[in-house]
């Protein structure tokens, strides 16, 4: 949405929007439902009235009927299939990607779960006549963070000893705040009432200063802040100094996701597991803008920069699931740049590591088909945040209908989108920067993935793009 259009609609429609708010009140009863019913530790939705599982619908039959009717031979990705299962007409899939399609029969209290047990959120949309819509959701998104609900009034649950040290300082300052606020607020009200203006009563002009009093109220805060400073500094050193025996996990942040690398070479996007009661040192860097690794449960945070390594450590403590936020503004999907931290017993962790290391291999140890690898790569490596598969224009050109298309570059040359072109675009993206439909260059936006992508994944992407050949482009 262009900003101007937004300004216009806001100015014209403020009244309408505020009227719509009342309608909104009814919808999210789901949020207030007790979280206790959710399986401990695992990510689960906050107990809505009904959970509709996508497999209820015969998705294949719906697609077949659609293709027969429209005379096309369109294929759908796994995610799109889950939406079809939720009641989106196949013809509306493209609109669903933008989050604007109505599902006629959906009850606002129904939460839809895709086949991986992940939630598809149902919310209202003002500009689409307030019909319920499916929002495009990151598949790694956690419906809720248990540590937030299991915490105190002020803080989320503290998951490590260092976090508890931080909380102790927090509570200390909070008590000082309560006391000072009570004194200042109380005296303010007292003076305003007791010395309110009354006819014939004059102010006492003799009180203009009182040196002992002024010195007292300068010194007491000075002592208090000195204590705070020292206590805070000691704990801060603790937060910054990893024990020498910590387990190292590398994290690479990109727009808009996280990639975690283990010392044995295993990589895992958007989710990482660590063994319980182990000090973990994160060594982080970014491929593009600034990001920030924020792990509230461990009270730790550090910016992630493109030109250097930054480090953060925490002691994993008891098993649990925690949310990692990006807290340094990084553009469009900043608010969706979550990652999941799972702390689990060592044997579970090792099993997970083995399974994750072999994600291109199926249960029988066979290499998965290239197309499937391509689709997984597309979802895991962050291609999806810039390259749409529904034909819409994003930060980068869409993959839909790309295969075999003539591409014009910003240096005036052009090429046909074939294997070699795609290969080179991934390995050396700036050697051939494409123009968009308006003839404007996409610029040097693309992350250089080549050091991270093995050959199978690049070939998989090629297959995946091939499979999208028939999808109409809208750029």
């Amino acid at each position: 949405m262009k900003l101007q259009a937004f300004l216009l609609t806001t100015l014209l429609g403020l009244a309408g929007a505020s009227a719509g708010l009342a309608q909104d009140d009814a919808a999210p009863a789901a949020a207030d439902a007790p979280a206790a019913e959710a399986p401990a530790g695992e990510s689960a939705p906050a107990a809505p009235a009904t959970i509709r599982v996508v497999e209820d619908l015969d998705v294949d039959a719906v697609i077949a009927a659609f293709n027969a009717e429209s005379g096309t031979d369109r294929t759908f990705t796994a995610e799109e299939r889950s939406w079809i299962g939720a009641g989106v007409a196949p013809g509306d899939i493209d609109a669903a990607h933008q989050g604007y399609v109505a599902i006629p029969s959906t009850d606002p209290n129904v939460v839809i779960i895709n086949r991986n047990g992940e939630e598809l959120r149902v919310t209202s949309n003002a500009s689409a006549g307030r019909a319920p819509v499916i929002t495009h959701e990151s598949s790694h998104m956690m419906p809720f963070a248990p540590e937030v609900d299991n915490g105190t009034f002020w803080m989320a649950k503290a998951a490590s000893e260092t976090a508890k040290d931080v909380d102790r300082m927090f509570d200390f300052i909070m008590w000082i705040n309560y006391i000072f606020a009570a004194i200042i607020g109380g005296l303010m009200v007292l003076f305003c009432v007791k010395y309110r203006r009354r006819p014939g009563v004059r102010a006492d002009q003799s009180i203009t200063h009182n040196t002992p009093l002024e010195i007292t109220w300068s010194i007491i805060p000075t002592i208090l802040v000195a204590i705070m400073f020292w206590g805070g500094y000691v704990t801060f050193l603790d937060l910054r100094t990893p024990p020498p025996d910590s387990m190292k996990v590398n994290a690479t942040a990109y727009r808009w996701g996280w990639n975690f690398q283990y010392p044995n070479g295993v990589e895992s996007p958007q989710e990482f597991h660590v063994p319980e009661n182990t000090p973990i040192e994160m060594v982080m860097t970014s491929t593009d803008t600034l990001h920030s690794f924020h792990l509230p449960a461990y009270r730790t945070k550090s910016d992630v920069l493109p030109n250097r390594y930054t480090k953060v450590w925490f002691n994993s403590g008891e098993p649990g699931v925690y949310r990692v936020y990006c807290t340094e503004y990084c553009g469009k999907d900043h608010s969706n740049m979550y990652a999941k931290l799972v702390v689990e017993p060592r044997e579970d962790y090792e099993a997970w590591l083995t399974k994750t290391g072999n994600w291109m291999v199926d249960e029988n140890g066979e290499m998965k088909p290239l197309l499937e690898i391509g689709e997984l790569t597309y979802n895991r490596r962050g291609c999806k945040s810039c390259h749409s598969i529904d034909g819409s224009m994003g930060t980068g050109p869409t993959f839909a209908g790309l295969w075999g298309l003539k591409r014009d570059f910003d240096d005036g040359s052009s090429a046909v989108a074939d294997e070699q072109y795609i290969n080179q675009s991934i390995r050396d993206p700036y050697s051939q920067v494409v123009l968009n439909a308006n003839g404007v260059s996409y610029g040097k936006q693309m992350t250089i993935y080549s050091p991270m992508l093995p050959v199978e994944q690049i070939n998989g992407i090629i297959e995946f793009i091939k499979s999208l050949e028939g999808v109409p482009r809208k750029d």
């Binding site: 860097t285 030109n307 250097r308 390594y309 930054t310 050091p451």
Partner: protein, 126 residues
């Protein structure tokens, strides 16, 4: 403006008079000659390789030149002390600004170098 009020005003301000000080010509030309001499000196000095003393020597000469310009050409030596306070104060803040940034950058430069070495390794590995 009455004379009494004028005195009061001056009193409040704490003037140190002497802003209309006319500088003698020999002082101006002498200062210019000194500045030129120092310029030639600094250019000559730079042709000798003084190693670690290169920068301090060049900066010391520049500072002497700058002081001459400020005190004499800019009349700061004959002006209100508040103007000197302003200008020296601004140097102090520039110094604080640069030194704090320098302290921090000096500390984290290692992290940048580490990443750079990695990048170079990747570049060369291709």
């Amino acid at each position: 403006m009455t004379a009494a009020a004028s005195t009061e005003h001056d009193h409040a301000e704490g003037h140190d008079h002497g802003d209309h000080h006319v500088l003698p010509l020999w002082l101006l030309i002498g200062t210019w000659a000194a500045l030129m001499g120092l310029t030639i000196f600094t250019v000559t000095a730079s042709t000798f390789h003084l190693g670690a003393f290169d920068l301090p020597v060049a900066m010391a000469i520049a500072t002497i030149k700058a002081t001459l310009v400020m005190l004499i050409f800019m009349h700061l030596g004959f002006d209100k002390s508040f103007h000197s306070l302003l200008i020296y104060g601004s140097f102090l803040f520039v110094f604080l600004f640069i030194s704090f940034v320098w302290i921090d950058r000096g500390q984290y430069q290692v992290d940048i170098n580490e990443k750079e070495q990695q990048e170079i390794a990747i570049d060369l590995g291709q």
